[in-house]
Subunit: 222 residues, 2 copies
DNA sequence: CAGCATCCCGATTGATACTG
DNA sequence: CAGTATCAATCGGGATGCTG
């Protein structure tokens, strides 16, 4: 196992999660356990052997645990340990920094977990002051429940169609959802079936206004 | 240039700073411009060709700028752009997470920048409540000025022997300095010349108490 | 289908030598 | 001092095949 051989905390962290695909794998596990195939499909571009190798390394390092679900639906899942889950602030900060690069949201992959995490990085507590609402984001198989209240955002995986009599439910694939939240309805396309909004137009407005992309980097010299 | 081809902010960040040695290089630049040879010696283990390649890539990406210093001491230096400097929260969080792994502080490299950054990640505002002091940390050529006041830590490079009539000045190489701050005088060794403390024993106590290592990870399941 | 192991190839890294 | 050039070793990516 490759190491920087450096006592610095940063390089010691990189010794564990610095290999290619390690952070993206952890990103997919942030909202709860996932199966091998979930990870494989959520991470387009990763080779199956690399995915297996990373999971094995992360398990050995104590970042991830492999667990078998109870008999109703027996399946092997990978899950973050408490230490692994403590990487969330790192991911948030990384995402906040990286979101300040231009990108064509179409023609690139975007997993449901990525979108959900991005809401955490772009949540604007100031803009959300006074807002109190529940929403459900349905992206194919992946469904997330969102609560905004007291300037705090809570988001987690949710069973579809189980929303708490939610005032708002959005159906779209992740890239379309991102376009809608960050760039408005017109950017998300208006074709039937691309995005479906259940709830008042007002609550949808209220929701999207709580999330703002950071400014792109100023190219000026220091 | 290799890319995750993923619209997620996290992977876009990794497209820029995810290659091996990129983050350590940025760590060395956090406290200001450095020359090529400074980086080379502060990063034991990096090959000069890799260092050159990373710097070139980081410059092209807009994270780093190459600049020539004014004629008194003309030298090429590398410096973070504002966008690059915005990586500091990422490094802080990474360091905080990574510092929770066991390590033998001796027999591993530790650069002066690493130690200075680690003070930022381990600063305990609660423990520093009511503390008001200036200190200077002298580690060979590298000298840092530290100010603690109002529960806030300020740290930056400083010209040696220019301290503001500082109440405290510590001389040691970075690993010894780390041992002293985090594990106390006995761990730092008591041999003459290993560590030199100018100032009252009380202020040194006050200083070190402001920094606490996080707890090691609990190995229990989630 | 879940979870890998294998094989091959191109890309990246690392150590060293070398140049302006 | 400040890098570039060279070359061997390793790693990542993709396809394929195996096993329960």
């Amino acid at each position: 196992m490759r190491s920087y051989l450096d006592a610095c905390g940063i390089t010691r962290a990189l010794d564990v999660v610095g290999e290619r695909w390690a952070i993206p794998v952890i990103r997919e596990l942030i909202f709860g356990p996932r199966r091998y195939s979930d990870l494989d499909t959520a991470l387009p571009g990763v080779s199956t052997n690399i995915l297996g190798a990373r999971l094995k390394e992360l398990v050995k390092a104590g970042v991830v645990v492999k667990r078998r679900l109870a008999p109703p639906t027996p399946a092997n899942v990978y899950e973050l340990t408490p230490w692994g889950a403590a990487l969330e602030p790192v991911l948030i900060e990384l995402g906040r920094w990286g979101s300040r690069t231009a990108v064509d949201l179409s023609h690139q992959a975007l997993s449901a977990s990525s979108l959900a995490l991005s809401l955490k990085t772009t949540f604007d507590a100031h803009a959300a002051a006074g807002v109190e609402l529940d929403a459900q984001l349905v992206m194919g198989e992946d469904c997330f429940g969102v609560h905004i209240g007291s300037g705090v955002l809570t988001i987690g995986r949710d069973a579809p169609h189980t929303g708490r009599a939610s005032g708002l439910r959005l159906h779209a694939d992740p890239p379309t959802m991102a376009s809608y939240v960050y760039q408005g309805l017109e950017a998300a396309g208006t074709a039937f079936d691309v995005i479906r909004i259940e709830g008042s137009r007002g609550s949808a407005e209220l929701f999207t206004r709580c999330f703002t992309l950071p400014e792109p980097p100023t190219k000026g010299t220091l």
